[in-house]
């Protein structure tokens, strides 16, 4: 049975989808926003260090659940295995209203101008699909600003001479520093670096009707108990619903996108919360499920016109899967520095994002979020036993003295790092699951290794008496920063969507999330996802002609 036809159906209520829902609903379009997870509240902050989105030995707090959502991971040498959502190798991002923004650490970076022009800045890299974006920083700037003010960002980038030109400052001041930042700030200055306060999607003062951060230790991976973290779940999605033009349906798993005999999209088929198959017809379909699930949905939407999946005429859907290769350094100070002031991360340098001799790009480096004792268990120096008396002694003497700096290395996209649909394994609803395969580009490892050295030098200067590096390992990279699988470009032969996130050969189908990122910057990607969602929505609304899309 088909449900009442609407103008737009949006699949996924995360960073991208939430914004699109609000923009379209406010422009007067009728919208259905579908989310496979639930709508959690601040009361769902269980402060459970063994069950959250960051550390999940006892499962994910905000989905997806282990039982119904397997994936297949192909590791080196072709060995493949089924992975659970809470297990390693799944490359999970939360499945709930707000998506990753519900429980993230909330760093709110604008990419730099060069991050959009990697190919013209650095040239061709063998073995990589390194390319320029079809849009520039200047194209996105107004939308970055809109995201910063509508969703809410605190911080102060005035100390960062590398940041790209901006018209307005951030709406909120930074939180006061914790002890780690107090040590790292002068140390960076002494090294001739340019430390500054990380922009964060977190209230430092009351904003948007919600209170300021109370600085607890359960931040990244957890729901915010006082609702001070700003995600789409507590900003744009409530606004979308308030227009009465948008209906949010949770626990709905989309099976496929439907097409007609003219090769246009007509709606979607999905399983509702009671596992009943439903059909939602719409003039426009927007796919915002995150890089892995968006690619999976397009690939699963096969028809006579699109035998290899939607947007996949040239075999680019699912390609260039990338995330961030984190590397950095740990150190021990001679005295206790733990002051229990969350979120922990607060100071960063952007000195090494570009201009590293012999390297393509680089990474932002920042101090780490508060490390709960169980997370600290594996943060041990090389050579220290993983168990026994020596390990216990280390935990006892080191926990309050630890200092950590790390950063997300901008990855070199690899064509064969990809999402496919598995020919055999199906999920609870009988839908073929995502099959992940590929590896990092060797140069990514090279850059990341250099970044670890920079981080180590910084904490040494801060006074650490013992330091050790966290070095990058091989294997596929995606995780919460997953991106790249539906590349944006002007040439339909080498990309999936155009500069407005519209699929090249299907004009009423859009992909609006990190899938469209050509490269993923040396920064956390969420603010760029949000800015791109605002920009794409803006264009979409301007092109909208009454009851149809032209």
């Amino acid at each position: 049975m088909a449900l009442k036809r609407v103008n737009a159906v949006i699949v996924g209520a995360g960073a991208g989808g939430g914004i699109v829902a609000k923009e379209l609903a406010e422009a007067g379009l009728s919208v259905v926003l579908l989310e496979r997870g639930k709508w959690y509240s601040p009361f769902d902050c269980r402060k459970d260090d063994l069950r959250n989105q960051r550390t999940s030995p006892l499962g994910q707090a905000f989905g997806p659940d282990d039982e119904r959502n397997p994936r297949v991971l192909v590791e080196g040498a072709g060995h493949e295995r089924m992975v659970r959502a809470s297990g390693s190798g799944y490359h999970n991002n939360a499945a709930c209203v707000g998506g990753g923004t519900f429980s993230y650490g909330a760093m709110a970076w604008r990419y730099l101008e060069k991050d959009f022009r990697m190919r013209s800045t650095y040239g061709r890299l063998p073995g990589s699909t390194l390319e320029d974006w079809p849009v520039s920083y200047q194209d996105l700037e107004p939308y970055y600003e809109k995201a910063e003010w509508e969703i809410g960002v605190s911080g102060d980038v005035s100390g960062d001479p590398f940041h790209a030109p901006r018209r307005r400052p951030l709406p909120m001041p930074p939180l006061p520093p914790n002890r780690e930042q107090e040590l790292l700030y002068p140390a960076a200055k002494r090294l001739g670096l340019h430390p500054f306060d990380i922009p964060m999607l977190r209230n430092s003062v009351p904003y948007n009707g919600r209170p300021a951060c109370m600085r607890c230790r359960w931040c990244v991976g957890f729901a915010c108990e006082v609702d001070a973290k700003c995600g789409t779940h507590n900003t744009v999605i409530p606004k979308a619903l308030a227009t009465k033009n948008c209906e949010l349906r949770t626990e709905c798993v989309v099976k496929e996108i439907l097409t007609n005999e003219h090769g246009r999209v007509t709606g979607i088929a999905y399983f509702d919360a009671h596992d009943q198959l439903q059909q939602q017809d719409a003039d426009i379909v927007v796919v915002s499920c995150g890089a892995i699930e968006s690619a999976r949905l397009l690939l699963n939407s096969k028809s006579r016109f699109f035998p290899d999946g939607l947007g996949n005429r040239h075999d680019w859907v699912g390609r260039n899967l990338q995330g961030h290769t984190y590397s950095g350094a740990f150190g021990l100070m001679p005295m206790d520095i733990y002051d229990d002031l969350g979120p922990g991360a607060g100071i960063a340098i952007s000195d090494y994002n570009h201009g590293n001799p012999g390297l393509i790009g680089g990474a932002m480096l920042a101090n780490e979020f508060i490390r709960l004792p169980y997370q600290f268990v594996s943060m041990i120096p090389p050579g220290l036993p993983r168990w026994g008396k020596a390990h216990k002694d280390f935990m006892r003497s080191a926990y309050r003295r630890a200092i950590a700096v790390q950063g997300p290395t901008q990855e070199m996209p690899v064509f064969d790092s990809r999402v496919q649909v598995d020919p055999v394994v199906k999920d609870h609803w009988g839908i073929p699951v995502a099959r992940l395969s590929g590896d990092k580009h060797p140069h990514t490892i090279e850059i990341s290794t250099v970044m670890a050295g920079k981080a180590e030098a910084w904490i040494k200067e801060a006074g650490a008496v013992q330091t050790w590096k966290k070095l990058p390992g091989p294997g596929l990279s995606a995780g919460q920063h997953q991106a790249g699988t539906c590349r944006m470009g002007d040439d339909p032969n080498t990309s999936v969507v155009n500069r407005y996130c519209q699929v090249h050969d299907v004009d009423n189908l859009f992909v609006i999330d990190a899938s469209v990122h050509v490269t993923n910057g040396g920064f956390n990607p969420v603010l760029t996802i949000m800015a791109m969602a605002y920009r794409a929505s803006d264009h979409l609304v301007k092109q909208w002609k009454g009851t149809r899309f032209a």
Partner: protein
């Protein structure tokens, strides 16, 4: 089981794995999230005793501490037994350093040991958060 855990996190001036209730954590989780691992546990424990008999001539729990350590090092270097031992190490760490709600870390012994205040000392004790401009910034 207790004997193995007692070697992974031994008792000293602070409680070890046994006194912190790590075995209780494992028992609890083996009926919940780790239910699929029940068989792995049964087989693994039998293998540890088997290895112990081969190396030291006695079941693991009956050995003196020094010999238990030697047996565990032997197990750790055996590629067949290592996966289960790694699992035990991981679960022991979870039970010891994780939240008490899951059945381990009795009286938050590990958190006291590392010096983590509980209940948390909120930052507002130190800073006036209503006006971040007034926050302490000694280095600016």
């Amino acid at each position: 089981m207790e004997a193995v855990c007692a070697q992974i996190i031994p008792e000293d001036q602070d409680a070890g794995a046994v006194r912190a209730g790590v075995v209780h954590f494992m028992d609890t989780q083996l009926t919940r999230f780790y239910k699929p691992l029940q068989k792995t546990y049964r087989r693994g424990i039998a293998q540890i005793d088997q290895a112990s008999l081969e190396v030291a001539g006695k079941p693991f729990a009956e050995l003196p501490a020094a010999q238990q350590l030697a047996v565990l090092h032997h197990i750790e270097s055996n590629p067949e037994l290592k996966p289960f031992f790694d699992l035990l190490v991981a679960h022991t760490m979870q039970g010891f350093y994780g939240d008490p709600r899951h059945g381990g870390n009795r009286d938050r012994v590990s958190w006291k040991m590392v010096g983590l205040p509980y209940p948390p000392l909120r930052g507002r004790l130190r800073y006036d958060l209503t006006d971040p401009a007034k926050g302490e910034r000694p280095w600016r």
